[in-house]
Symmetry: C2
Subunit: 551 residues, 2 copies
């Protein structure tokens, strides 16, 4: 039994059980106070020590590499960090060299190392939080949780799935077929064989949370991994890869089992890598444009994508109008709507809805949400903590362009935060016919209140939007139990996770590791679920060697 | 609990356990004597009752359909059976209508029905055997075993995998996240949602054995299924579909959950169906040409293929020369080499090999195999029972063309069987450089003995052939344990199942349900394994519905 596997056996067992049970479970505490005193300050100092110099990935051969990197914090400063960049062929060659010993290692050895990497990443959560904050624009608390422990939980979930699937393959069996008075006896050995090299293409908003499932699923199943970060969010994955390489090297493996492939917007690497004959698996999070390119052009490989979508809310009725408006206001505001799970399009009957506060007109529902946003963001410190910053300047331009798409219920504005790129939610009222407005993904703090006929019309439009444009989340508010039950099959067929009547401290945007299946793979928001058996089971193959058994 | 599910629960439990243990297990007896007296005669009579008339698929709406069908037995007679043929759009529309209730049915209900269909198929094994015999050219005993119980075992294996994967998804859980002194509580329901419509494209040589895994995996996971048989082997799948439709209708489902899509060589349907927007899954067994077309042209669907390959044998040394030659002779002769698992290319060191009978030269190894073929086929009745008939006239032409590719060690000849299209194995000796000869799949009773440098060269060529051209099986004969251990990783990397030193009544061609992983998906012989979790796990998706739990 491998040392690291034994050391982390309890963690793995708990993770496998949690992924099966799907109740609440978390391995890595989301509360910063659960970490040692001084860890936050040490993380901040470690971040400061990285800026304005070349990043050392560790263990790299002494090949002079081109340095790339021009990350700028959405909160202001340029990071001034550069990373060694290598051509696609060199990366794949190195991965294929490193792969041989890694693929041949026992499952337990690889899983033990993957778990050790996760535990070390957890220790560096404050450094990673800083790196996530200053690349994505996530506010500090969210950068810590989503970039650190939540992402680590998702990586662990992938290891748990991969281990469960691999451990279902027996190592060796005696196959004995009765043939009348005698029998035919074969010894069979089953070999778990990886696909080869996995490419993980990261995104700019959740560089760790969206990459860890693929990264750890690939590693655990014996593939070498090339991580191609978004040029705007390299640092979080560079820190991740460095830690992984350290563990791999300590354990006697070629660190090139895990490589970073930084590139630039001017000379992107993703297409070259994704179509490289040496790459067997491609995982991508990002735009539908590039996701579509991958789905069309990458042949004979496993391709997993998480792409864009139009997440919707249907408001049919509520017995908690204020709490509903507050809940929706928070969902629209959190990280300025830059989550793949953030709602964009809110359907409300044109004739208004019944609430615990009496009838509310269509206009009153919109203004109720707008007011709740105003209240939520009225305190500047809280506003900054909820909104964070805008990752990409293009999002500001998108807000500007969106203002003309409908009646402005609540306008977007910048926060008064020195140097930071910020914007509060823009809320527009539109007619159901204005599909050009509400039926296109408009990434960022842009939302629509859409006047529809009734609840049935709302559900029909919401589920059609999911089927045609993709959706990762949907929300429904209704006090009519029968209406909810009628709606559920339509959402299920549309492949979108549904949250019903959420109020209080839980939001449609939140996707919990070990419980929620993130992305369904059943609508255009992604071609795969990122947290199920199918996500890991194809990353390895099984080869049987059989021979006559000794009598 | 569903009645059929309960009725077949012991069968399912045993199948799930067997697929996990991977020792020998079979649900459906391969010995015809295990079946009721008179069953064989009844099956033959049922077959005779089908010939020379339109086939009634049962439960079809009274839409007048074009009749197609021109099957001719490789043993002589035209079957004279026609089948109702519908356009792709009509088939998909009907499937989508039937799908709604099927997808909404509980997992246990669908699994119970799938198991009932298998049990009924088993009762009709003698009819199916006749149908397989007179479309594929398999000899009667093989048509019974491979077309009947073995195929049913493979269908059952797929149901077992599908059930195991679906049952890992909990139906409903309480998610309770501690938040200091209080907690957030959500009720979560998980819905298993099928992809939609599955297309299963059958082949002419193993219409049931190669189609049942996909057919039953699709059905169990809630997809409607359109079975597109090869125009030369419609009947076995027509009988299958009819039985399935009977069970579906009896259980209150629209029989169009399972449809037959017969077509003709002149007006093929497969491309229209495979690219139809309503089809979500495509399973194909057949040529690399069409498999490649599917892989290139079918976008955003699950595509599983089993294609061509070059299966190899490496003879490095043996301590059982005669038994080895006999074993190989049988593997080359069985069903006239028309198995996807049949060996084609045999590597032998040019300097000969060490054997229990002393040194044997390259020429002596070839002539040893040739003599063993001659002995095996010396009795006409046995020859007919081993060889069966040649499914496709093109195979005879291929044999003729192959004669010029090398030195003829053993020539092919027809058996003296009135009306049947037959051919004994052609064995050619070629040089290692003659890759144009031995490195292309030549489907049918055509094999090459290739002179190579030594065992290491042989293994290198065999594994390269698997990597580049695909292979489902490989065999290795060696008395050197260290040589075998060195070779295994190369075969594993090439993704090909390896049989070592087989003699006696077990052959490299044989792939046992519940034990051998059929096709690896790790080389060009197929993009998927047909018997693992990955083969079923993506056929359904999971959608979560969550709402605040009652306090």
């Amino acid at each position: 039994m491998d040392d690291l596997f034994r050391a982390h056996a309890a963690l793995l067992d708990a993770a496998v059980a949690a992924a099966r049970d799907r109740g609440f479970w978390s391995a890595f505490p989301e509360n910063p106070k659960a970490y040692p005193e001084g860890a936050a300050a040490a993380g901040a100092a470690a971040f400061e020590a990285l800026v304005n110099r070349p990043f050392d990935l560790g263990g790299t051969a002494d090949v002079p590499a081109r340095q790339v990197g021009s990350e700028v914090s959405p909160f202001g400063p340029a990071l001034g960090i550069t990373y060694p960049a290598r051509p696609a062929d060199d990366l794949v060659d190195a991965a294929e060299r490193a792969l041989q010993a890694w693929a041949a290692a026992p499952v337990e050895r690889r899983v033990g190392i993957a778990l050790e990497i996760l535990v070390r990443l957890n220790r560096e959560s404050f450094l990673i939080a800083k790196a996530v904050e200053h690349t994505t624009g996530q506010a500090p608390a969210m950068a810590f949780q989503a970039g650190g422990p939540h992402a680590q939980d998702r990586g662990l979930e992938a290891v748990a799935y991969a281990y469960a699937e691999m451990s279902r393959v027996p190592g060796a069996v005696l196959w004995e077929k009765p043939m009348g008075r005698s029998s035919i006896r074969l010894d069979k050995d089953f070999h778990v064989v990886p696909r080869g090299v996995g490419l993980v293409i990261g995104c700019a908003t959740f560089p760790t949370w969206n990459s860890y499932p693929a990264l750890f699923a690939d590693l655990a199943t014996g593939n070498a991994v090339i991580v191609k970060p978004h040029p705007a969010a390299i640092l979080p994955l560079a820190v991740t890869v460095r830690i992984g390489r350290q563990v791999l090297a300590e354990q006697g493996f070629d660190p090139d089992v895990l490589q970073l492939a930084p590139d630039t917007a001017e000379a992107p690497l993703a297409k070259d890598l994704a179509t490289h004959r040496g790459v067997g698996i491609v995982d991508f999070t990002g735009s539908s444009a590039f996701g579509g390119w991958l789905r069309a052009n990458v042949r004979d490989k496993l391709v997993f994508t998480e792409e864009a979508g139009v997440n919707t809310i249907v408001i049919a009725s509520t017995d908690a109008f204020s709490a509903m408006c507050q809940n929706i206001a928070f969902s629209l505001s959190l990280y300025s709507g830059q989550m793949c799970t953030a709602p964009q399009t809110i359907f409300v009957p044109a004739s208004g809805i019944a609430t615990d506060e009496g009838h509310r007109s269509f206009g009153e529902v919109g203004s109720g949400i707008a007011s709740a946003i105003d209240v939520l963001l009225s305190d500047p410190a809280r506003a900054a903590a909820v909104l964070g910053a805008i990752q990409n300047p293009a999002t500001l331009a998108r807000i500007d362009a969106a203002r003309g798409l409908g009646r402005i219920v609540r306008d977007s504005a910048a926060l008064q935060v020195e140097g930071a790129r910020t914007a509060t939610p823009l809320l527009l009222a539109v007619a159901a016919e204005d599909e050009a407005a509400w039926l296109e993904e408009r990434f960022g703090p842009i939302a629509f209140v859409v006047a529809v006929q009734d609840a049935q019309d709302a559900v029909a439009r919401a589920t059609r939007a999911a089927r045609e444009k993709g959706a990762i989340t949907a929300a429904l508010y209704s006090t009519d139990a029968a209406e909810i039950e009628r709606a559920i099959p339509a959402y299920a067929r549309a492949g979108v996770a549904l949250s019903v009547n959420l109020t209080g401290g839980i939001y449609v945007n939140q996707s919990a590791a070990f419980s929620d299946y993130h992305v369904s793979g059943a609508n255009p928001a992604g071609n795969a679920c990122l947290t199920d058996a199918a996500f890991v089971a194809g990353r390895f193959r099984v080869v049987c060697v059989r021979r006559p058994a000794a009598a």
